[in-house]
Amino acid sequence: MAQYSRALEPRTEWARPFEKFWEAHRTAITRTVAVGLFLALWEWAVRGGGVNPLFLAGPIRVFERLYQVFADGSIWPHFWASGRVAGLGFVIAIAIGVPLGILMGRFRTVRDVLEPFVIAKYSIPTVVFLPLFVMWFGIGMWFKVMLVIVGTVFVIIINTEAGVSNVDRRLIETAKSFCANEFEILLKIVAPASLPFIIAGIRLGIGRVLIAVVVAEGFAATAGLGYLAFQAGAAYDTAQVFVAAILLGAVAITLNSGLRTLERRLAPWKESDTERG
């Protein structure tokens, strides 16, 4: 009885448009309300509640500070310092990881040789190597770049290998039937077929790049978003910690959605079910 009583209920006409609007946008509305409530609670806790503003800045102060660092341009040197390390490390990691992954996926001997190292490293947190890199490269830019490379390259290798070894055997055979040699098979079949996996690996790498950059800058740096956060923490400037966090998150989201777009454009036939690791 209760099941169909709702359908039989007479509805007031004026409620219709609201109902429609709600059905169309309910996710967006719920999210906005949740975030708004969270921010309000946060601000209230800092202003009137029991939280000491020394340990936690309210959201309004955080956004004021965010506006300020862009208005006076003081953020750009930090962006540049972190961006240089991240970009350099990431590009090198891709340049090493993709070819190695392809070779591992295609040639059994290469896989058998490299797999123990890949698995070993994949299980060890990258940060543990930081002291070594500082010893080898000093406390300049390169130990940071190194940390980024080591932190990122393995997830790229693993995804690339998964993509390459999942290439449809029948497509390879088709190319062979048309007299393709091994190089042509790699170029015309294996590379395009595993591209979605490679991009997924790169996307997974983004998060790792940022972690490596922040950790390295926390260890030794004179500029950078991670440096900004650690310095702010030491000075009890909690608003600045959040500014650094927001900017790092924004960078990650931007890169991620950029790569997603690229993935959809390069592999429109494939669903985004390619992530590993």
Binding site: D168, A175, F178, C179, P192, W269
Partner: protein, 261 residues
């Protein structure tokens, strides 16, 4: 002329110490130029394997295969294959898929495009050059597969159950279209199929294989008037066609029962 003499093949079972799974045994056969020959037999009888041996994708365990006196060692430009699952590259458009073979044969870009367009038109897909495989129906995909094979102008066309993945009505239409298409460009065709009627309708000769390991059970010459595509309904209803069908089915049935047992 293709000469298959005493070919046997076993699949090597990884990890097994002795022997392997024998799929072909003592197969000898001569295929003449411009002949349309079908391989018919129960599943697993090695007919597809023999086709792949003819292409050079698989090396037989023993025996010899020659084409015009040359031993087959690997795939060659004079041969092209049409696959049951179409095997189109999902990231390439129809046109670029047809170009694949030409590309691997080292043809110039201009020639590739010209030949690909020409062959797409021939299989009735003019105007579909920019479509991706996932936008095409099964029948259309196989037309692309056929255009890809024909565009390289092979002397020998190898077809591995090309219509096996299509629905029965489309299948009959494709048979008619293929005969029409092949009429204008005489070439040797070896055609693997499970369908007795398809084999009779298309072939000059039907090679019937036994259950595994495949041996040649019988060779049936199909003496039906040509062109068959022009009169397909009458031919399929003719007493001769029906006689071939029951004769071949009788042989196959015994083998199928043996294979099931």
């Amino acid at each position: 002329m293709i000469e298959i003499s005493n070919v046997a093949h076993s699949f090597v079972n990884k990890g097994a110490v002795i022997g392997g799974l024998p799929v072909l045994d003592g197969v000898s056969l001569t295929i003449h130029d411009r002949e349309f020959v079908s391989f018919l037999g129960p599943s697993g009888c090695g007919k597809t394997t023999l086709l792949r041996i003819l292409d050079g994708l698989v090396r037989q365990t023993s025996g010899q295969v020659t084409i015009d006196g040359h031993v087959i060692r690997k795939p060659a430009r004079e041969r092209a294959m049409v696959f049951q699952e179409f095997n189109l590259l999902p990231w390439r458009t129809t046109l670029r898929n047809v170009e694949l073979g030409l590309e691997l044969h080292g043809r110039s870009r201009a020639e590739r495009t010209r030949l690909a367009r020409e062959n797409l038109r021939k299989v009735g897909l003019g105007g579909f050059e920019g479509y991706f495989p996932h936008q095409l129906s099964g029948g259309m995909k196989q037309r692309v597969g056929i255009a890809r094979a024909l565009s390289t102008s092979p002397n020998l066309l190898l077809m591995d159950e090309p219509f096996g993945a299509l629905d029965p009505q489309i299948r009959e239409l494709m048979q008619i279209e293929m005969l029409k298409l092949l009429e204008t460009e005489a070439r040797t065709v070896v055609f693997v199929t499970h369908s007795v009627e398809e084999a009779i309708f298309l072939s000059d000769r039907i090679v019937i294989f036994s259950a595994r390991p495949g041996r040649i059970l019988a060779i049936v010459e199909v003496d039906l008037p040509k062109p068959r595509w022009a009169d397909d309904e009458r031919i399929k209803a003719s007493p001769e066609f029906v006689k071939y069908r029951s004769q071949i089915w009788h042989m196959l049935k015994g083998e199928l029962q043996r294979a099931q047992a």
